[in-house]
């Protein structure tokens, strides 16, 4: 046991003496979470809109003022007939056009409902969708303020309330995804690199010729990364809570346990990569292309799994991150217990066992050569 601790201590020395490693370990998660939180998520500013006010009454004028003073939109121009919409979009001067129907105020008073048409330039679908959501949010807020009496059912109000959450959902989304990504990065990439480094420098041979058993060597090398990954998971949760108000609705011990499972999985992947890769660069390339990219693209972190074509959706089922993200979302955001995530947990556990077996097998095959 003392031998083992000496070995783990040495691994920590490697980590704390290498500036690059430290940056990846501690600065990267913070930078990424801030980046995703403020830049990549659905922050909207100064979107150019056109307005066609066919009614021109007090309410529509107030609504327009409300939109333009929200800080999200600036006026690109006012329109007075249909064709101008197309020319406005083609010239690129506006992304959205807001159209109030004829006799807006009168209809609203008489029939309790009136229509606002929102037309967007959907060639940039994401930002168009985003602008729409914001517009609906602003309008909903405006109509609600017009009609504080909750007794009257305003159709817009009901719809917009749902959309109003859209912005917050974006922030909620990226915290689980980022956890999956960062833990995969640290656990798999860092361990595969640190193990291949020992091979490159020839120290692995010395260790293998020593009384340390192969599993002791591997365990000694991954133990520091388990601890550091847990620290990182904690700091992501903390940052999410403090800066972006992402709640931990469910049980924290359960969340940590699931993180530990996912970390173990990523570590065994890292060990597996190190048995294949001969150099640190190869290990890095394998981890980047084989793990990080698929984790980003196929896990549902950025692109929803439901929108993928069949083949990719099938591929996404072998992405550990996909299941982990579901687990984290459930525990963190929905506050569900183990009863609702046992299936995903079981899949993760199965994958972990598979990768550990594969890594051990590869390790032994290499010894026989």
């Amino acid at each position: 046991m003392k031998r083992f601790f000496g070995f783990v201590k040495k691994e920590f020395q490697h980590i704390f003496r290498d500036v690059r490693t430290l940056v990846i370990l501690f600065a990267l998660p913070v930078v990424m979470i801030v980046l995703f939180g403020y830049v990549v998520t659905n922050e909207l500013k100064d979107v150019r809109i056109g307005i066609w006010d066919r009614s021109g009454d007090q309410i529509t004028r107030d609504a327009i003022n409300k939109i333009l003073s929200s800080g999200y939109f600036v006026l690109a121009g006012t329109l007075d007939h249909e064709e101008q919409i197309g020319s406005l979009f083609r010239s690129g001067n506006a992304k959205v056009v807001v159209i109030f129907e004829h006799g807006f105020e009168k209809k609203l008073m008489r029939e309790n409902r009136a229509a606002v048409r929102l037309v967007t330039d959907a060639s940039d679908a994401n930002s168009a969708q985003l602008a729409l959501n914001y517009l609906q949010g602003v309008l909903a807020g405006f109509f609600r303020s017009l009609n504080p009496d909750a007794g009257l059912p305003w159709e817009v109000e009901i719809r917009t309330r749902m959309f109003y959450n859209e912005e917050m959902k974006g922030v909620y989304m990226f915290v689980p995804g980022l956890m999956a990504l960062i833990m995969m990065l640290i656990s798999a990439l860092m361990t595969s690199v640190t193990i291949t480094r020992e091979k490159e420098f020839g120290t692995m041979e010395l260790l293998l010729a020593s009384p340390l058993k192969p599993w002791e060597i591997i365990l000694g090398k991954v133990t520091p990364y388990v601890l550091l990954s847990l620290v990182n998971a904690g700091s992501i949760i903390l940052l999410g809570t403090l800066v972006f108000n992402v709640p931990v609705s469910g049980s924290l011990p359960l969340l940590i346990l699931e993180c530990l499972l996912y970390i173990t999985l990523a570590l065994s992947l890292g060990v597996l990569i190190s048995t294949v890769a001969k150099t640190q660069q190869m290990a890095m390339v394998f981890s980047m292309l084989g793990l990080l990219l698929p984790t980003i693209l196929l896990s549902g972190f950025i692109f929803p799994v439901d929108n993928m074509p069949g083949i990719l959706r099938g591929l996404s089922t072998i992405m550990p991150a996909r299941w982990f993200i579901v687990v984290v979302k459930n525990v963190m955001l929905k506050g569900t217990g183990f009863a609702f995530i046992w299936k995903e947990s079981l899949i993760l556990l199965g994958m972990t066992i598979f990768f550990i077996m594969a890594a051990l097998r590869r390790f032994n095959v290499r010894l026989e050569k």
Binding site: F7, Q13, H14, F201, G202, E205, L206, L208, K369
Partner: protein, 245 residues
Amino acid sequence: MTGSGEDIIAVRDLVKKFGSFVANDRLTFRVHRGEIFGFLGANGAGKTTAIKILCGLSYPTSGEIRVAGHDVYTGREKIKRRIGYMSQKFSLYEDLTVSENIRLYAGIYGLKRNYIQERETQLLESLGLRHIKNEYIRKIPLGWKQKLAFSVAIFHRPAIVFLDEPTGGVDPITRRQFWEMIHEAARDGITVFVTTHYMDEAEYCDRVSIMVEGRIEALDTPVLLKKQYHSANMNEVFIKLARKR
């Protein structure tokens, strides 16, 4: 010649194949306790393959091999406690200090802390390296690294130390000094098993075996080998052996 009870390595018909390529072809030899055994051959003759099998870093395809009294198939763990190993890269951790490297390896072999401290001081004193005790390995010259790697390999006083091309890339004077260290270790009772492709170094060994293309072509003391092949030095012996094939 000493009896078989004194043999610390006994190898019979060791074969190692990689696919259809035969790296070691029925090697048979014995190494006596306390001797310096030179394992000679050109690059690619199969020296490193054989040394890795003896150290338990690789499995043989077939053959009977006993090291330090234990079978390599069943007694690997016991063998590993009794051997030291130094690779051709003088492997030490570049980002650890001289002292940290010594303590790390000593710790891996399960030595007690007080004992390690005492021996470390002695060692650094005798190597004249006390002033760089807290220097990172990447900052010290190759020659010092080589001496240190050797000292680390015999720090736990193994019965036998395996040196895989321990003098590659260093200048002749440093090589000379290094062989003095090897002789000192042998005087302390450590059997030395050393591979090299420098034929002049064979003269420093008690006995040498010469490998050509995976086989042991000759095995004797340098004096007798030179006599047998009517050569002035070991280099000639080697060239004659290589031509014979």
